[in-house]
Amino acid sequence: MNACTDQLVMMLVPRDRIVSVSYLAADPDTSVLADKAEGLPVNHGLAEEILPLKPDLVVAGRYSARAGVSLLKKLGFNVLDLEPENSLQGFRDNLRIVARAVGEEEKAERIIADFDARLERLEKRASKTSLIFANYGANGMTSGAGTMVADVVHHAGMTTLGEKLGFSGTRIISLEQLLASAPDIIDADIYRNSGPARANENFRHPAFRILKDRAETVSIPTRYWVCGTPKTLDALETLIDAAEDRAP
């Protein structure tokens, strides 16, 4: 019933064991496994949608769809609540927890071993010059400490702008702050660029265009690191490539 937990489940078990996934897990903008979810009934975190499917196990995020999840618990369903994944370690932990619940421990360990091997190869190339990375999303959202983005950025040997400004979590920053801090690498990926909205106007601001010309620009799709998956390492690789381009 959560975009991230559903992707973990889809990684581990064959499709015929899944009766429903969150609509976000089936959305190619949010989920790297959207193609696997194709054709599966989607839910929007409502108990009404889950009840008639009579699942043996409900996997949910600790902070999402609370009303629906608590109702299901009250009705006696077997609910597995997972902490949000704020780091690569969080992904490993959650994958193991789900694997235990569905009896696919071996498969989980294989996935994690492949993941760690690739991570190790990438980390050898991590930047040593402590660059500042700024993701600048719709409405001017950027990541601070304690987020998956920050953890990936650390593995690339960099710091996020949010950490430099001293906040944790994801926040809106003004264009002024972005300009004043002159980040080295900017990720200006427009999450779900579907239909015009004011949220995307900051990308057309002349000051932002000037800034983009001066920094290294990358475009990392949100789905790569909104949840921890093996694809999260693609985000890491893009960052490391950009840092190498930036370094003299």
Partner: protein, 332 residues
């Protein structure tokens, strides 16, 4: 002529405050950069982040604050004078909400991406429809009818705005209701100035020359008519001027309420109740209030800026209640 001297002094004072607030607007912002940093940038010709912030972010913000404040103050004063109704104001009579609806229509259908002028033009058109509707519903009625008509128009426009934002495929559109209802000039660019300022100036040029006629009108419609004031052209010019100026302002800033209500009331006793003097004074007063409110939102909650409409409503709504009480006492 002490009253003329008083008036000149008042105008000078307001102009001085406007200049101070305008300059002040350059000095505060989320990036801790002052005017000195920008001057140093110019002098040294390197590391021009400060200069960039001044030119591309704070300059458009200050210009828009000034022009939008002036527009709201001026149109508020003009409407109060024309309708001889102390509660008239672009926000309360529904013009602002209607303009916001026009702007929302232009942005979220993608029209303004293809044709930028569609943004102010649609906002102006929607504003015109609202004023025309108001005029037919409550043109010669009491204060109460006017306010009720305004509430109805505002609600309708607000609902239509919310409907369009809800229907938008963009996931952020719904959150943007807050911007359209409460207004802000944060992170606007010189492009927005270029889109809105010419229309606002056009609106001022249409309204300001009406001031002497409004003086005569304050003696009553029949007297004004017998003194040769053409009520129909006055009304037409006022309606068009208001829709053009408020429409353009709202298209780039969202709805900013109460400035047009508060400022004329504060200044009226000081200018001797003559609309011809109240109009320019209210324009300056509106600019001072909006610029100050915009400085205020940057100072009290740095990082997560308040919307401008929150501040103007916190000042304006109690004032509005006070006005209603005053009107009730007058009726007794």
């Amino acid at each position: 002529m002490t009253s003329t001297r008083h008036y000149l002094l008042l105008m000078l004072g307001l102009a001085g405050l406007t200049v101070i607030a305008f300059i002040g607007s350059f000095m505060v912002g989320p990036a801790a950069i002052g005017l000195g940093d920008a001057i140093r940038d110019i002098a040294q010709g390197q590391g021009d982040a400060a200069l960039l912030i001044m030119r591309e972010i704070r300059l458009p913000r200050a210009i828009l604050g000034l022009a939008i404040g002036a527009t709201l103050g001026l149109t508020g004063a003009a409407f109060q004078g024309y309708l001889r109704n102390p509660l008239a104001e672009p926000g309360i009579i529904g013009v602002s909400s209607a303009s916001a609806f026009g702007a929302v229509l232009a942005i979220y259908t993608g029209l303004s991406l293809a044709f930028p002028l569609a943004l102010p033009l649609l906002a102006i058109a929607a504003g015109l429809i609202a004023v025309a509707l108001l005029q037919t519903l409550a043109g010669s009625g009491s204060s109460l009818t006017l306010i009720l008509a305004g509430v109805a128009i505002s609600s309708l426009a607000g609902a239509l705005t919310a409907l369009i934002l809800n229907l938008s495929p963009n996931p952020y559109a719904v959150q943007e209701i807050v911007f359209w209802m409460l207004g802000s000039v944060t992170d606007r660019s010189l492009d927005h100035v270029a889109l809105a300022l010419p229309f606002m100036v056009l609106g001022w040029l249409l309204i300001l020359p009406l001031a002497p006629r409004l003086d005569v009108l304050s003696l009553g419609e029949e007297t004004a008519h017998s003194l040769g004031v053409n009520l129909r052209t006055t009304r037409l010019l006022l309606i068009i001027g208001t829709a053009v100026a408020v429409g353009a302002a709202t298209a780039v800033s969202g709805v900013i309420g109460f400035i047009g209500l508060v400022i004329p009331h504060m200044l009226r006793p000081l200018v001797g109740r003559k609309p011809s003097r109240l109009l320019p004074a209210s324009a300056l007063g509106g600019a001072v209030l909006l610029l100050s409110a915009d400085i205020f939102v940057r100072i009290i909650t740095p990082g997560v800026e308040l919307k401008l409409g929150v501040v103007t409503a916190l000042i304006g709504a109690p004032f509005f209640l006070f006005l209603i009480l005053k009107t009730r006492w007058a009726w007794r």
